[in-house]
């Protein structure tokens, strides 16, 4: 892919519609071999971009879901201790005459087969691949510092085995919901992009491509309504994922056009707070009165 528009087109073929800005950033990330840091409201397609990239290149998507307290042994590698013990016991039993060489025995303990490769190590080994580090804002500061090391050198050193270096750096996508400000050192190494809610036409196109079973008129009306709702100061403005859910829910009810009563009945697909539900009902009432 040699231009942003080619990236955009290729992503479009997997069903992921981008705007020119995002396509340019993806293009740059590939050329400059830099990780891509995506921030934005939940449900704007940050994770979906990584999936689309993996599908587009035909490489595996390796996902590392971050959570509070995640550490290197869950992200990099771990030794399978119970199996190592079993192995040692087997050796003991097999060589009762005392012919066991301690050096060999120890060497056999740290064998490839006892190594549990976690996502980051897997991504380096199976490269080319797409490594998705999801919701990095949920992890702690220490974990960020550790990521920094891996993302800059594309290598992981295992004291007992040696260093694993990626032949070609994997495509790395980090996503964050901004529940916490990431450290600047990590941000500096990444290309930053803020994914915003798409405009009317693009969102209609997304619904058409992701949920082709939804009738045209219905898709357009649902998207228009959701876009209105995003300006209503809800506690959690609905994302594209919610638009898709809602359109599919209405389609399941056999709707071909937006019917406000059905819309009210399926509100649970779009808004997930009671206060928001009340507010949206008011909006629907206003539209009904018009």
């Amino acid at each position: 892919m040699d231009s942003p528009s080619a990236v955009s087109q290729a992503l479009g073929q997997t069903g992921y519609l981008t705007d020119p800005a995002l396509a340019t950033v993806v293009f740059l990330a590939e050329r400059m071999q830099r990780p891509l840091l995506l921030e934005g409201e939940p449900g704007t397609g940050k994770t979906a971009l990584a999936e689309a990239l993996a599908q587009l290149r035909g490489v595996p998507l390796i996902r590392l879901q971050c959570y509070e307290g995640i550490d290197a042994s869950q992200a990099l590698y771990d030794w399978d201790f119970p199996r190592q013990i079993l192995h040692l016991r087997t050796l003991e039993a097999a060589t009762r005459d005392g012919s066991l060489d301690p050096v060999d025995a120890e060497k056999s303990l740290f064998d490839e087969r006892f190594l549990l490769a976690r996502p980051v190590l897997r991504a380096l080994r199976e490269s080319p691949s797409v490594l998705l580090i999801d919701e990095v804002d949920r992890a702690d500061d220490e974990f960020e510092a550790f990521l920094l090391e891996v993302l800059s050198s594309w290598a992981v050193s295992i004291p007992e085995l040696g260093t694993v270096v990626a032949t070609t750096p994997p495509t790395v996508v980090l996503t964050s919901n901004r529940t916490r400000e990431l450290h600047d050192a990590l941000k500096r190494r990444c290309l930053y992009h803020w994914i915003d809610h798409p405009g009317l036409d693009r969102e209609v196109a997304i619904v058409r491509s992701r949920a082709p079973e939804v009738p045209d008129a219905l898709a357009r009306q649902v998207v228009a309504l959701v876009q209105t709702l995003r300006t209503e100061h809800l506690l959690k403005p609905p994302g594209v994922a919610e638009t898709l859910d809602w359109a599919r829910a209405l389609e399941q009810l056999g709707a071909t056009e937006l019917d406000l009563e059905q819309a009210a009945a399926t509100l649970g697909a779009v808004v997930k707070y009671r206060e928001d539900t009340d507010r949206v009902r008011h909006v629907l009432d206003r539209m009904l009165a018009r």
Binding site: P4, L28, Y192, W194, E275
Partner: protein
Amino acid sequence: MSTPTGHPPEEILLGFTRALRAAGVRVTQDRATGFLTATAIVGLGDPGGVYVAGRATLCSGPDDLERYDQVFEAWFGDRSGLPGSIPREHRRDVATPLPVSDDPGEHGGEAEREIIRAAASQAEVLRHRDVAGMDAAQKALLDAMIRALRPRPPVRRAARHTPWRRGAVDLQRTLRSSLRLMGEPAQVRHRRRATVPRRVVLLIDVSASMRPYADALLRLAHAVVCTAAPVEVFTVGTRLTRITLPLRTTDPDRALVRAGDEVPDWAGGTRLGETLEAFLDRWGARGMARGAVVVVFSDGWERGDPQLLGDQLARLGRLAHRVVWVNPHRGKDGYQPVQQGIVAALPHCDHFVAGHSLRSFEQVLEVVGNA
């Protein structure tokens, strides 16, 4: 990107990063280098590409994007036809909100920085301003600032233990983990006593003399209710009203309306002693105040018997872990605690703090969090 000024393109691009830094975006040297590399890849002939390349390499958060757009426009001229910036008015940030200026598009560089500085200091002034004398616009900004507060609940030691890096050896977990490794002695586990949030009880005086502060105090109470700690809120005046449940509504505006519907004695008289007695009899002595941090928001203008107030506060002081008295007038010059109510109450309070501005609210939350 034409260069009508005759400067080489690198100079123009680097100058742009300088301008961006002057506007308050933290542009480091490696970021600037990344920007040059990125523009070389997308090509200088494509303004949209340069715009996106700069945004991806030089910005590190949504706060930077708006400034980036303004500086880009000021540096490279017309931005029409380029991807738009983010509509920011619907986003909720944790950071202190700045008032939106009327027309930020006309200013660039230094002027822009002045505006941001002025806006920031306006918010800073508001932090120290007495809540009672604010106009509607300032109140709206204050509401947003109170909403952004993140109160830290006080903690107490729990009966349970929790894993920890050091401390007493956790025999059970050590044995259990070695059992999993077929009896091989493995890592020694440690533990310590866990902590749990301590209950916080807020008693808010809604009598006539406290009227200018009631709205802000209820918003503060809402912010406290939204934390993980068990929190109870009552209004006191001539009657005692429990408003914990209405305040649990997530949206502060609705929560306040619901709480307002419950309270029958807005801006009435003050009979603190009697309402405190009612609180202790009905709720406090049964366990709500026991070991809790009790915060009384009142100016101490007592219409009833100060002796009764003193007795009840002594009772409260024996039940509660800490009693904090927050008086809005304390922060004012020349204030003397001479009101009958305050004189009777002070000997039984652990802390006596001011509560008239956002800054003092933060101090109150600090005192409560450390209690």
